[in-house]
Symmetry: C4
Subunit: 180 residues, 4 copies
């Protein structure tokens, strides 16, 4: 069930262009730890998820960004996390410290989406992302991608999709206004 | 049959990028009411549609935008409604009160596509949308998305797809002209 | 076999965004006539093609653009025709009388792609398109779409795909140069 | 297995828009030669790959770009090669001699992606591409597309996908900055 859910959501993320290649990762909280995508696996055709305990050594086969997921589960009550690389959200992240959606779903879900900075794979970034998620269910890491968290994988995916939709609208709007 | 049609059209809407995540909804008129997508369901993988009577309480599981669909069925003879979030149509909606397609299908189907405003979930918006659909089978709600209506789900979907195609061409054209 | 080929190519055209909704059509030459997509059918989920004789009345169920296909078969030796609505090709068609690809496939296949004008559904447009295809296997009708012809459906589809690829590169290039 | 892998990767390349029509090709090294896509076959629906010996005549059914693949295998230890036509990478190739990704995956994988020039189908281009791949696993041929090489088809595909992602971000970023 857990593996089927992960594949179902991975297929959606890939179909919407929110991840490409074997990038991005997802995880689901369990007692004493969480299940996460394997390193190098494709989100849309994952092999079975791998269990990571909340404390102690991280299995080598686990996704490279496992420490971010672990920090999120340590400091928040979310049950699932989606990390994606949505191109419009990444592009906007270079030019501002927060994104303010103008579409009505974006405005409702996220009046402001925080943009944070940090070096991939570091504990500092893990803490920064987890801290940002305490105030909002999604955050953009500058030049890298989004982390969204929710009560379920479906919720974390829908939030990711909504962030990219909002950012795409914002970029189209800049292009239109400029050419007006 | 009804549920299969809904899924078939939902798959098309998602494949063309007219909806993302679990946004958008569709409905089909019946005697004394209509069937509509369930709240939070994915258009491309819906569970069975839920019946909403034309009068009286709206079931809680029904889509959040059910009141717009009900107002459309109350005031027009359409048999099906598609509500989508096409990004180019939404982007254009911020800068004008009507969209005038320049592609030949757009010109034929919709010499002018009205842009209306209103707060999501309100009866005022429901009335505004339904009123606009009395003169034209499609309307864009500013910053939100399209409502298209027709004699069948297929017709309402094709109209939605044509509106987004027209808006995409208009935006590309602005970009080209500007860079000329 | 003919119907399966038509569906296979229709699925490719839709997957690449070369047609949306139920727009676009394809045909395959036969003795004394040709088979063409039915009116309102989806290219990617067509019902069986319908036979149109080279002379005489056109069946009502045949695609709205049947007269263009008939004129092409009357005046050229092509065996198959694909009519699509590729957005970048349409956008470029508004600003020039011919498109000159800069990508290497485009340069090889089409040093110049002619842009013609005409009212959809008229015999004048049918003659204009057929005449243009005598010198080049593809042509763009301003504000409308492409007609490509070849020895097979596969060839006509690949040409269509190459035209849109070339036009997309040209538009991206204009956007990049301008922002340089 | 080899043919199934080729189809699996071809489907991914097509789904991500890295190839269109029947363009692009892939190969896998073997003892004394390599297997490559057949000429005119679709990457996402290839017939079985064809064997090309490392020395001597090239079978006629082999992909038109077989000499590039052969030169890569002759001069490097890579086990697989992917040649694609990613539109954003091609567009950027016109305006610079190297692409410098700004997204964090791009920066890690390719601080600089070289852009080379050459006429398709020539031995000169084959040598230029193979030489560039000695210093970096991916290269862009101006106005044409990418060659990426790796220890496996999966690796060469993921690199291709990452190059296009980086180029897409760069183009979006130029558009945003300009409109700021």
């Amino acid at each position: 069930m857990r593996d089927r859910d992960a594949e179902r959501i991975g297929i959606r993320l890939h179909a919407e262009g929110l991840v490409r290649g074997n990038f991005g990762n997802i995880s689901i909280r369990e007692d004493q730890g969480f299940y996460i995508k394997r390193r190098n696996a494709y989100l849309d055709a994952p092999r079975e998820l791998i269990f990571v305990p909340q404390e102690g050594a991280i299995p080598e086969e686990a996704s490279r960004e496992t420490i971010v997921h672990r920090e999120i589960y340590r400091t928040t009550p979310y049950r699932a996390v989606v990390h994606a690389h949505p191109p419009h959200a990444i592009a906007l992240s270079y030019i501002s410290k927060e994104v303010r959606p103008q579409d009505c779903e974006g405005e409702l879900l996220y009046p402001r989406i925080k943009v944070v900075e940090g070096v991939s794979g570091t504990h500092t970034l893990a803490r920064t992302v987890a801290a940002a998620l305490q105030n909002s269910p999604a955050v953009i890491v500058r030049g890298h991608g989004t982390f969204a968290a929710g009560a379920s994988l479906d919720e974390a995916y829908v939030l990711t999709s909504a962030v990219e939709h909002a950012c795409r609208i914002l970029i189209l709007l800049r292009q239109i206004k400029e050419s007006g």
